[in-house]
């Protein structure tokens, strides 16, 4: 691989007390790549996702963003975080701010974008995710699907090098999952680098460049979706796929 990976994890170890949640994780994500992390609950996939911008600390190992080591704290950490967007399971839109302000606050506070420009860019992004008509509302007035699309626009407003999706559809009603996945699919097609923790196997199969299978804190398999879903190499991956694809 000639290019520097956008995200690179080397020998990540993490414990929650006596529980070994991440066991020697090595993962690299190339420019424009869509990596989908799947695995049973409690396998550490969400934790892994959250270590990438240090919302979870690690015990040892190295995290590189675009070749630069992720700093432990302070201004440098904030600067790297600004380059990696994050979309949460529970949306986490700022409850006291309007939809528009949710999208402009990042650029204005962190990138010092002038207000007018930030608003114009935000409106463009909101239009792109199809919620521009809700710009003046508060998050609580929106449906879950709409909120999550605003959250994606908020991440995009920072012009990130990559976006982390931590189970972005797990808190949504079934009829709203589709609209969020559609936005994510479009992003992937446009070349956004993405790490997606999800239970949506259809999305993984259709959109992922690579599927990473985790169980009990370990990466057991990495493969193209085609290979992974048709010829899983490990017994645990087979069992996992059997259990979810049977119905």
């Amino acid at each position: 691989m000639a290019q520097t990976p956008v995200i690179e994890l080397r020998h990540i170890q993490k414990h929650f007390g006596t529980l070994h949640v991440l066991k020697d994780i090595n993962l690299s994500v190339a420019q424009g790549e869509v990596v989908v992390i799947i695995g049973p609950s409690g396998s550490g996939k969400s934790t892994l996702c959250r270590t990438i911008n240090r919302l979870e600390t690690i015990d040892s190992g190295e995290i590189l963003i675009d070749g630069a080591a992720l700093p432990q704290e302070g201004r440098e950490l904030a600067r790297l975080r600004a380059q990696v967007g994050m979309v949460f399971q529970s949306f986490n839109l700022f409850a006291h701010k309007t939809v528009l302000d949710n999208v402009t606050i990042g650029p204005m506070d962190v990138l010092k974008t002038p207000k007018q420009q930030a608003r114009e860019e935000a409106m463009t992004l909101l239009r792109r995710v199809g919620v521009d008509t809700q710009a003046a509302k508060l998050p609580a007035q929106l449906s879950g699907g709409q909120q999550q699309r605003v959250a994606i626009a908020r991440a995009l407003a920072m012009h990130p090098k990559a976006i982390l999706f931590d189970e972005p559809t797990s808190a949504l009603d079934p009829e709203m999952i589709g609209e969020v996945l559609e936005v994510m699919t479009r992003l992937a097609r446009e070349g956004m680098t993405m790490v997606v923790v999800t239970h949506e196997m259809g999305f993984a199969r259709k959109v992922a460049d690579r599927v990473v299978f985790m169980d009990s804190g370990e990466i057991l398999e990495q493969n193209t979706p085609e290979e992974f879903f048709t010829h899983p190499q490990t017994k645990r991956a087979q069992d996992f796929l059997d259990s979810i694809l049977k119905h």
Binding site: F88, A95, V110
Partner: protein, 282 residues
């Protein structure tokens, strides 16, 4: 019972026919008891001559009311100044208390306990008697406002802190993930939400501050209470003046509490109860 769901609906099941009869009976009995008590008080007043014209006639004069009005203005001014001071000090104490810097945390914790534990009157005496000897000379106004604020600041700090703790962790995480620094995260994301949830509790705290300003008589600051005392000695009328003044205090504090309720309704997010709302809806 109103159509709006009340706290009672959550506490008790709807009464059945027997319970309804019992409630009606209890209501009648207690109303009768209250009426009898009131009658007794009035009778006792009459017997002891407290209803005599000389105790009440001066309330017909405009000067009496102007004098009480001046006192009321003094009370309101002192309460507002003390309230503003309380908020500022409470905010600083809260920031210290949640700081990651351990020594500052410890100092704030001690100050908060000190503020909450020492009676207001002791603070007043300190500023009235001890502080001037130490070279700190304040006007009568500040001799009321500062100690009253000191004694309420610890409580306000804790109220603010409970509001901060109630803001979901995800709000902070989302702000951090955008690359916002700690200061921005706190003052732009966490604190505004915390403040909204505790505004009703803060306004209720203002009632306590307002009541504490009655200690003004100690330092001869002309508040409602102090002016009432002047009236009492002028007209040799104790009960009537205190009664009228008590009613005035009740009316003001009732208004402030109503304001707290209105604020609670305004600031509560749709479908969510305010954190410390003085919820007295029926």
């Amino acid at each position: 019972m109103s159509a709006q769901p009340s706290i009672r609906d959550f506490l008790y099941e709807p009464p059945g026919p027997r319970a309804r009869r019992r409630i009606t009976a209890a209501t009648v009995v207690s109303a009768a008891a209250v009426a009898a008590g009131l009658a007794l008080v009035v009778r006792q007043f009459a017997v002891t001559g407290q209803l005599d014209a000389r105790y009440w006639s001066f309330f017909a004069r405009a000067t009496t009311w102007r004098f009480l009005g001046q006192g009321l203005a003094g009370t309101v001014k002192a309460a507002l100044a003390a309230g503003a001071l309380t908020f500022c000090m409470g905010l600083l104490l809260m920031l210290g208390r949640i700081s990651r810097f351990r020594p500052l945390q410890a100092v704030s914790r001690v100050l908060i306990e000190f503020s909450r534990g020492v009676p207001t009157l002791l603070f007043i005496y300190f500023f009235f008697l001890a502080a001037p000897q130490l070279g700190l000379k304040l006007s009568a106004f500040w001799k009321v406002a500062v100690p009253v604020a000191l004694s309420a600041a610890g409580m306000v700090a804790e109220v603010l802190r409970s509001g901060v703790n109630a803001v979901p962790r995800g709000q902070t995480e989302a702000a951090l993930s955008l690359g916002m620094r700690d200061g921005s995260v706190f003052f732009k994301i966490v604190f505004p939400q915390a403040l909204r949830s505790v505004v009703p509790a803060l306004i209720s705290e203002l009632v306590i501050v307002l009541k504490d300003t009655t200690f003004a008589y100690v330092v001869n600051y002309a508040d409602l209470m102090q002016n009432a005392k002047v009236l009492i000695s002028n007209y040799d009328a104790l009960l009537s003046v205190y009664l009228v003044v008590a009613v005035i205090y009740i009316l003001i504090n009732y208004a402030v509490n109503k304001l707290a309720e209105a604020a609670a309704r305004r600031t509560a997010p749709a479908g969510k109860e305010p954190l410390h709302g003085t919820d007295t809806r029926n």
